[in-house]
């Protein structure tokens, strides 16, 4: 809890900066100051609805995430948690609802998805990085190229700048030695860490993870989770759809429990595990633990 307060405060402090290392700030941050006056909402989803054909996958899902938070979304398979995550960066287009990330906002009210909407989504996606269950690295490019590609073609940053940043990011996820290898030659854990580095290269405000460790065995998964914990310590805002209950409980600031396209309960990990308010939460956690 305390760590969370510090984190959110630190998050507020570093706001003007774009790409610093935060370690000294963390130490310098005044511990006793409460979060109340400096909490900054970085992501707000309001009343997101989504149907596939006649099947309602999301019913009025709303969630607010503060800067620096790590929020885990759990729930049974098919509860809509992945769809909700994908609606946040418009990989799925919500039928209705509003998504606000940093200072960009898109409101959907049924109706067709126009190219002007796509342009707005393009702006909004600049704030979001995403990591997939199946990694989705580009197999025809080296790990380094994977990380450098988007900054180069989307942001048109000078190649020399991109490369040094990309190598820093790879070092951060422990892959500096694999920079020139092709994804197919890496283990699953290495591939997923490369995918995280690739997403970070676009300097997102929020990182979304869609079951990042589901395709990995537990030992390898730990490498990936460790990277996510390190990012959390640095103040990165992260939303994680996961089936890994131990990670959710140990690393999250808050846990969101979804079922049947609705958010049933949002709570601190300990509170949710020790004292779930809803019977469905209790049932799900009982079955999972």
């Amino acid at each position: 809890m305390v760590v969370f307060f510090i984190m959110s405060f630190v998050g507020c402090l570093r706001l003007p900066e774009t790409h610093p290392s935060y370690d000294d700030r963390e130490i310098a941050g005044p511990v006793e100051t409460g979060p109340a006056f400096c909490v900054e909402t970085v992501l707000r989803a309001e009343s997101i609805c989504k149907s596939f054909d006649s099947h309602k996958v999301l019913r009025n899902v709303s969630l607010t995430v503060e800067r620096g938070e790590l929020v885990s979304i759990i729930g049974p398979s098919g509860c809509g948690k992945s769809t909700f995550l994908r609606c946040l960066n418009f990989l799925e287009i919500p039928d209705s609802g509003t998504v606000t990330i940093a200072d960009d906002s898109i409101r959907r009210n049924e109706g067709p998805w126009r190219s002007s909407d796509e342009a707005q989504a393009h702006q909004l996606r600049a704030h979001v990085g995403m990591v997939f269950q199946s990694f989705n690295l580009f197999p025809h490019r080296t790990v380094l190229d994977n990380v450098m590609l988007a900054p180069r073609v989307v942001k048109h940053v000078a190649p020399s700048v991109i490369e040094s940043e990309a190598r820093e990011l790879l070092a951060k996820v422990g892959l500096e030695a694999a920079a020139l290898r092709y994804p197919a030659t890496l283990s699953g854990g290495q591939q997923q860490r490369a995918a995280i580095a690739r997403a970070l290269a676009m300097r997102p405000d929020v990182m979304l993870y869609d079951e990042p460790t589901s395709a990995l065995d537990p030992r390898v998964a730990e490498e990936v989770l460790e990277v996510m914990r390190a990012l959390d310590r640095e103040g990165m805002t992260q939303i994680v759809v996961t089936h890994d209950m131990r990670f959710a409980r140990a690393a999250s600031d808050r846990i969101v429990f979804m079922e049947s396209g609705e958010i049933i309960e949002i709570a601190d990990p300990d509170e949710m595990y020790l004292n779930p308010k809803d019977s469905r939460t209790r049932e799900f956690l009982g079955a999972s633990l």
């Binding site: 990694f135 989705n136 197999p139 073609v153 197919a184």
Partner: protein, 506 residues
Amino acid sequence: MRKPVWRAVLLAAFALFIFGAAARADEPLRWAADGTANVPFTFHDPAEESHMVGFEYDIMQEIGRRLGREVQFTQNDWDGLIPGLQRGFYDMVADGIEMTPEHVEALDFSRPYYMTTERIVVRRDQAGLDSFERLGGHTVGTIKDTLAERMLRTRPDVTLRSYDEESNAFSDLRNSRLDAVLLDGPIALYYGEADPDFRIVGPPIGHLAYGIAFRKGANQELRHRVDEALQAMIADGALHRILARWNLWTPEMADWTGDRSVPNIVPTEWEHYLASTAPARGWTARFYRYVSFLPLIGRGALLTLMVSGCAMVLAVGMGLALALTRRYGPSWLAALATLYVEIVRGTPLLIQILFIFYGLPSIGIRLSPFVAGVIGLGMNYAAYEAENYRAGLQSVARGQMEAATALNMTHLQALRYVVVPQAFRVVVPVMTNDFISLLKDSSLVSIITLTELSQTYVRLSSTYFDYFGPGLMVGAAYLLLGLPFVRLAKLAERRLAVSERRGGRH
């Protein structure tokens, strides 16, 4: 890395043909004939393949001289001669065109410049086929759309074989597939009498007149002046002298012109022809003859390569656009692309090329033969490439597009940097096949006046009655042309496959 060089070559090629077309504007006397296997009318001098010769060629040169105009010869395939005339690619056709009632109805003709008859040619050792009546019960060859063919059609007791090229008829006569051929006098003389294996037998049969053809109703003034020139050439003996040099002055010509003089003229052209086509005896003579073919084959190969290369570039670009449209475009556009692919795949390439070259001028689109050939081949292969690329695009996992979108690439950027390069790797082997078959299909552009490799083979072999040596040489040329593409594709495959070499999934 090679891109700039390629671009320069393409640009040069296009410039060459576009300016070539533009240069035609300064009013030379434009005429056409099929100079392939067309002895003695208009043909490539066997001793010097880049020179055109022939009695019609000489007559047209003489007319040009008398009209004070530069003469410009256009090579065109026999079947394309009249369509080309009607499209206005040239003003006149002089290629042994008979002034039959049907032809006179469809075309305007000058006064006749030559009168002749049909003659029977048989193998030298053969007897008993020396009149039209005695052809009954035998297999007889001739050229299609000629008086001889029409005459033979009236004889149900004769098995008729019609050929495009006289050289093929004589080749079959030599191999005993035919018992006799019935042909226009000049052809019988140059292919039959000139060859120690054959001889002309029996009396002349029928009567025919050759005239210079003009588009119906057009160029009245030019036709008038050509008539005057011909009249003058008959009056002052110039026509007689030309025909005598070719050993083609006939009793029919004497009757028609009233010119019964016997000028003291050596048939130099006839003798030159006999000398230069005499079968090469011994291996050295053969070898030197084959070596002399090399420049011609080289030129044919260059044209084949240029047409195929440009067509490939068009096919790849357009094919990719079609495939992307079908997979990612708006539905109405995708439907149009599908329609295009179906139409192009469902109709013969030959028809498409003829349509583009001869059909499009009807709606005001005139293309040079090179450009028409490239567009015809390119647009056809684009349809096939489109299907390949579509399969390739489908083989790229959906997650790739999502990952690129999540990295904030636009749709186009995702295609360009992520999806298309991966799809490309899948289709490279198929593309190689297509390109090699395109190289071979490029022989179809010979029907729109381009003398590429296949046409070179037809010409050489029919000039020398040698289908063997030139066949091997042209075949080798095709293989050599295809080889770099095979190597290139292997190289590309190897380079592209590096990422997957050590196995594993994406």
